[in-house]
Amino acid sequence: MQQVSQRRPNRAAAFLTSRKVVPYVFVAPFVIYFLLIYLYPTVSTVMMSFQRIDGPTTSEWIGLKNYQKLFSRNFIQALETSTRYAIWDVIVLTIVPLLFAVLLHSGLVKGSAFFKSLFFIPALTSIIVAGIVFRLAFGTQDTAPVNVLMTALGGQPRQWLMFADSGNFVLIVMTLWRWMGVNIIYYLSGIQAIPNDLYEAAEIDGANPIQKFFKVTLPGIRPVLIYVITITVLGGFAMFTESVALWQQSNPGGIGRTIVGYLYQVGITKANMGMASAVGLTLLALVLVVNLIQLVLMGFFRKEDA
């Protein structure tokens, strides 16, 4: 009797929990999220890059005009600034943290746990505060801290933030100060995963520390290295807040304007969303190409040792 009175499962529920459908139900949140938050804006950005947009209701198809007007002096300058920054960013932020990570792992340094956290602390600071501190430290006057140091060391005081090259130098110093700790942690996790046997075997073969670094450590952390370089390239081209924090509204000769800063200025400050979309897509293409080249060079697509 009881079996008969048992309620039949709801039809919709039955459908949703059936073997064929249930996987789709589980992935649905992601798919919906992806369509709404990623795909829709991407597609509409592509469309907007062919439009002139004035205010919320007026837009007009103008074909390739946005792209034809793209290569203005400001755009090219911003591209140069971003590229210069990205190149130095990759060089400095891959090598310096790697050296520190090896040093910290080697056991040559006492209290390495203390230094690990010390290097990491800047990553927790506010970029705006860091920008103000660096701006004042690298001030234009002879009495600014860095200029005082330069004079004490027998050098000449400079107007650091007024020229493209020295401005880029300050940016790199600031980025290094801020992000070195994070990269050290990536590297350390990679180094710690290398089995000790390899080092022992290398030692038995008579390898010196430098050979061990190049023949064991470096190949051992290749995946981590690829990851760090990839995000550093991305971060280099997408850099925006650092330069804004350093130069704020004042932007001498446009040297503090990166490609994303230019995108923001065109789209938000000058309310030209169509042009900004064109800039954004160009940046996307550029970063894709650079990353692809870098991944090929690093052997990312090579099959792991067969």
């Binding site: 007024m162 001498p252 400050t269």
Partner: protein
């Protein structure tokens, strides 16, 4: 009959309830600004508005954002049609961005036109399009000179003897020789050195029709004069790149430079950020150009606007008119903010003479000085491409002149070309 009476009674009751509700619930308005100082005036004018029983009670939620953030937020809010405030302060360099396409600001002709004769109307033309006014400014922004008399006296110079820019340059040479200090600083990353001088000289960046004027002889001559001062060291690059940087405040405040030319609203930067110079600074009219031009230049500004989609456009307009266009409001613009009000009739009023921190700092002849230049201030041409022009001046012209040390004619030509390319 009974039925009618019942209906009437019900109606009366409902009306009574409505008015009772209205008294309890003030009308809520949102106001955005990027200039915290302005809220001091707004708060005062909100209180005195509510103190008048004839006015509907209002409650203004004032939100202060950083300059860039506020304008970006406003652009997004107006573009998406959601989340915009009722009243908003829009900076003059940004205003043209909001007058494109389908304008989302309410026109304010109904509150401006009746009192047109009392106002400095050139300030309203900056925020107008097709005969409609969209923003109310707080000040004229007449450019004036700020002299550090301590330094000038040490060099044996009376600032009142400086009548022309040539006098100014000559005085600068004496100051440099006697005290080792530069006469002034030129901004290398902003427009407040170049634009006032060019505009006072009779030049501008654009014509109202959108023609580029950036490479006219008057611009080249002005740049050449500025460069001649840079060349002999009587003028130097402004520390920090502009006259609003902490570095400049520090240097100027400790007496590193003998003078600076800035708009009238710079009065409060000295009182607030360079208190040590109190009693030493004097204000004076700009020196004149030997080959014509004007007595001053109106610079900068903020157009306070009402957003069209606001639920309370009328009440917002009425309050704004009261706060910024009434006699009382204009007097308070001076006493609270230290600005030169846009209503001409307040200048002679006794209320304006009451002691305040500005008279304490600069002495009591501020308005006697200002009145001598008010009759000869040229209009500025704030049109659709003004934000672009302004950006070129800030990031290219000023830099190439002050840091790059380039040839004035080449600089003017390049910048003009840049602007023409952008307009294309």
């Amino acid at each position: 009959m009974k039925k009618l009476l019942a209906v009437l009674l019900t109606l009366a009751l409902m009306l009574g309830m409505c008015s009772a509700l209205a008294e309890e619930e003030p009308i809520k308005l949102t106001l955005w600004t990027f200039q915290e100082l302005h809220t001091q005036l707004y708060k005062e004018m909100e209180a005195s508005w509510n103190a008048n029983p004839d006015n509907p009670k209002i409650e203004i939620d004032m939100q202060v954002y950083p300059y860039d953030d506020m304008h970006s937020k406003l652009t997004l809010a107006l573009q998406s049609g959601e989340g915009a405030p009722d009243i908003v302060d829009i900076e003059i360099n940004q205003f043209a961005n909001y007058l494109k396409g389908d304008i989302q600001l309410a026109d304010i002709n109904d509150i401006v036109e009746p009192i047109k004769d009392k106002l400095v109307m050139s300030r309203f033309n900056n925020y107008a399009k097709d005969g409609k006014y969209y923003g109310i400014d707080h000040h004229i922004g007449a450019t004036i000179m700020f002299y550090n008399t301590e330094i000038l006296e040490a060099a044996g110079i009376n600032y009142q003897d400086i009548k022309t820019w040539d006098d100014y340059h000559e005085a600068g040479k004496v100051v440099l020789e006697k005290t080792g200090k530069p006469m002034c600083t030129w901004e290398s990353a902003d427009c407040w050195s170049i634009y006032p001088l060019v505009n006072q000289h009779g030049g501008d960046w654009l014509t109202p029709e959108g023609e580029v004027r950036m490479d006219e002889p008057v611009v080249v001559n002005t740049l050449a004069f500025m460069k001649s001062m840079l060349d002999d060291g009587t003028a130097v690059a402004c520390p920090g790149g502009n006259h609003h940087s902490e570095e400049y405040y520090g240097a100027m405040g400790s007496g590193a430079f003998a003078s600076v030319s800035m708009p009238f609203w710079y009065l409060n930067r000295f009182t607030d950020y360079m208190p040590d110079l109190s009693g030493k600074m004097k204000v004076a009219p700009m020196p004149l150009w030997p080959d014509g031009g004007h007595k001053s230049a109106q610079m900068g500004g903020t157009g306070t606007a009402v957003v069209k989609t606001s639920a309370n456009v009328d009440i917002a307009k009425q309050w704004l008119a009261y706060a910024t266009l009434s006699f009382e409001g204009c007097v308070k613009t001076w006493t609270i903010l230290g600005f030169d009000p846009i209503m001409t009739e307040v200048y002679g009023a006794p209320e304006m003479k009451e002691p305040n921190k500005f008279f304490d700092y600069y002495g009591d002849d501020i308005f006697d000085m200002l009145k001598t230049v008010l009759d000869d201030i040229p209009d500025t041409c704030i049109s659709e491409y003004f934000p672009t022009a302004s950006d070129i001046v800030k990031s290219q012209m000023a830099y190439d002149l002050v840091i790059g040390g380039g040839d004035p004619e080449t600089i003017a030509k390049n910048c003009a070309q840049e602007l023409r390319d952008a307009i294309e």
